[in-house]
């Protein structure tokens, strides 16, 4: 329930989004997020019994492209776009582990 949105909920969402949030901001966001969620909650009044969930808002399906590669970006351009680079690698602050998704 939106009115029960807690400071902990705000902190968790901020953390998942990698946002640093001050105590004062956390309280403000708690109220604002509760209002947003309360607004969306009105959808709960609609009877959706028997309605299939949509996979996508557009009606289009099967938007596919042929397996034809195009020229890749020049690695020199990639280096320029990167905040920091070394020996062709994009350099980021040291991270641990193997990666999460794949």
């Amino acid at each position: 329930m939106p009115d029960e949105l807690s400071i902990e909920d705000v902190r968790k969402v901020a953390k998942l989004a990698r946002l640093a949030v001050s105590d004062a901001d956390a309280e403000r966001y708690r109220a604002e997020l509760a209002a947003v969620l309360g607004y969306v909650e009105r959808l709960g009044e609609v009877d959706v019994a028997g309605v299939e969930p949509m996979a996508h808002v557009a009606d289009s399906i099967n938007v596919l492209r042929d397996d034809e590669p195009r020229i890749a970006y020049d690695p020199a351009v990639v280096e320029k776009l990167a905040p920091d680079a070394e020996g062709g690698f994009i350099r980021v602050p040291r991270v641990l582990g193997e990666g999460g998704g794949a």
């Binding site: 596919l64 042929d66 641990l96 998704g101």
Partner: protein
């Protein structure tokens, strides 16, 4: 007194990641590294605006990635979905700059299926007479691979990111927990690799990470007090060799009963852990779970409309299926009478199997027994063929198969027919094969080449007799040995006659004639 473990029943499931060999990436138009054996020319040479997550870039799905996924699904007996939906899996990690991976959550491209893993003997080798083990496939979904991180960048102060691999199509195949041993896991993994390579879905180079295995392992322990408990599930990440897969499963099956006796922890919510594999010490090692790693907040990707697969598309894709490796292995061993090892060697490479099958068909059309033709053609490909292919590979530095030598099925069938007629010797078959594989006689008619090379067996008794007499005259001591009863010495004389004939005299006829002449017939 604390209970002891009386019996361990392993419960193992697997997730297998297969990099599909499309030329372009799955949602981007940048070239993909998994379609070639060549190493990329450096870091970050296969990127574009989507791979780099530049503002305004939008994904478009690669048709071939979808079709290869369907093809693998069909080969694994999976139901192909009518509707496949693309979801975002949120995670912050520099190996995917978008901060999410495009994957599939509720509506994957391939649904449940069953794979028959060959039965195994006690050494873990395939036993074609043993019952196969059905392994249930839960699903297979298509997603994008992540980039690679290099942790020793800048003297350890930073992490280097290479996005060449980011966006490579990755098919994740998930099984039910139907395995009961490391050997079974490996047999399945090998079979999966063969199948995926046969249908052309992946190059399957293990060292390049084209296939990565993640077993989920736990055990049901029967305790001395009669209780049955289940150990917590351990998922071992990112194993990229069969040896590592076997090692990790075996290690966990030994370690889990001990861990249970120490800490008493059982399977349950929050008890699952992730471990890595230490290839040198051959042990699994605890991995620090990334915080929030499981809070992926999947939701449908608004940039990608769903894929709807109708019957016509499904059948078009299905037409690219072929007879699968296990069925061929069974045929080669059971019908052709090949040794299991020979059969396994053949089914490693589909082009070699296809050449073999086409040669048998061509030989059968000339009236030869197909099983005889199969055995002889297989031997030819695995011996002369493999030898020449190896030599050529050494010369060029590129892999060469016996099917890459330019010798075609009609030529092989003609060789087998000549051999069956007794027109050429076994050596003659190899000589002509080698000539057909070399530039000079490439594409030539096998019979004409055999005549040109003078390896057609001479049936002219008079000529044979002259050569035998000449050989006996040239080696009188050996001839005396044979006369005195040392029959095995005749080999030297046979060799001499064959040399005089330029290889065109049949060893068996020569032997008979020599022994007759020397009073040993």
């Amino acid at each position: 007194m604390p209970p002891t473990v009386q019996h361990v029943r392993p419960i193992i499931g697997m997730e297998i990641h297969v990099e599909l060999s499309t030329r372009a990436k799955v949602f981007a138009h940048a070239p993909s590294p998994a379609c070639t054996l060549l190493e990329p020319a450096g870091a970050n040479v296969m990127t574009d605006e989507l791979v780099l997550a530049l503002p305004g870039s939008l994904p478009v799905l690669n048709r071939r990635a979808v079709e290869l996924s369907m093809l693998v699904g069909m080969a694994l007996g999976c139901a192909i979905a009518d509707l496949a939906v693309w979801d975002r899996k949120s995670y912050f990690y520099p190996d995917l700059p978008k901060a999410y991976q495009i994957s599939q959550y509720a509506d994957p491209i391939c649904g449940p299926g069953v794979v028959e893993v060959p039965g195994l003997d006690e050494q873990g080798e395939i036993d074609l007479d043993a019952d196969p083990t059905p392994i249930r496939i839960t699903r297979a979904h298509l997603e994008e691979d992540a980039g690679k991180l290099v942790h020793d960048c800048a003297g350890g102060t930073g992490t280097g990111v290479d996005l060449n691999r980011a966006g490579t199509p990755l098919l994740e195949i998930v099984t039910e927990p139907d395995f009961v041993s490391a050997a079974q896991c490996v047999a399945f993994a090998r079979e999966l690799r063969r199948v995926c390579r046969f249908v052309g879905a992946t190059l399957g180079v293990m060292q390049r990470g084209h296939m990565r295995f993640e077993p989920n392992i736990n055990c049901e322990l029967t305790l001395s007090d009669g209780r049955k408990v289940r150990t917590p599930i351990v998922e071992v990440k990112n194993l990229n060799s069969f040896r590592a897969l076997a090692g990790a499963v075996d290690y966990e099956l030994r370690a889990q009963p001990e861990r249970y006796l120490e800490d008493g922890r059982e399977m349950g919510v929050g008890a699952k852990s992730t471990r890595g594999w230490d290839d040198e010490r051959m042990t699994t090692v605890a991995q620090r779970d990334k915080e929030d790693a499981h809070d992926y907040r999947y939701f449908p990707d608004p940039d990608l409309p769903p894929v709807v697969v109708d019957a016509a598309w499904r059948e078009r894709v299905r037409a690219a299926l072929c007879e699968l490796p296990m069925s061929r292995l069974r045929r080669y061993v059971k019908d052709y009478g090949l040794a299991l090892k020979q059969g396994e060697q053949l089914v490693e490479e589909r082009p070699v199997c296809d050449l073999l099958d086409a040669s048998v068909e061509a030989a059968a059309a000339t009236g030869m027994d197909p099983n005889d033709a199969g055995r002889q053609a297989a031997n030819l490909l695995l011996q002369a063929g493999a030898r020449i292919a190896n030599e050529r590979a050494q010369e060029t530095g590129d892999p060469v198969l016996p099917s890459d030598l330019g010798v075609n099925a009609p030529q092989i069938a003609a060789l087998l027919a000549m051999r069956a007629e007794g027109a050429i010797s076994a050596d003659g078959v190899d000589t002509v094969f080698e000539a057909l594989a070399s530039g000079e006689h490439a594409g030539g008619d096998a019979r004409l080449v055999a005549e040109t090379l003078g390896v057609i067996i001479v049936r002219d008794e008079g000529q044979l007799e002259t050569w035998c007499d000449e050989a006996i005259a040239a080696m009188p001591e050996i001839a005396d040995d044979v006369r005195a009863g040392k029959v095995q010495a005749v080999g030297r004389l046979i060799g001499d006659v064959r040399k005089r004939s330029g290889g065109s005299a049949d060893a068996k006829s020569v032997r008979e004639m020599l022994l007759n002449k020397l009073g040993q017939g």
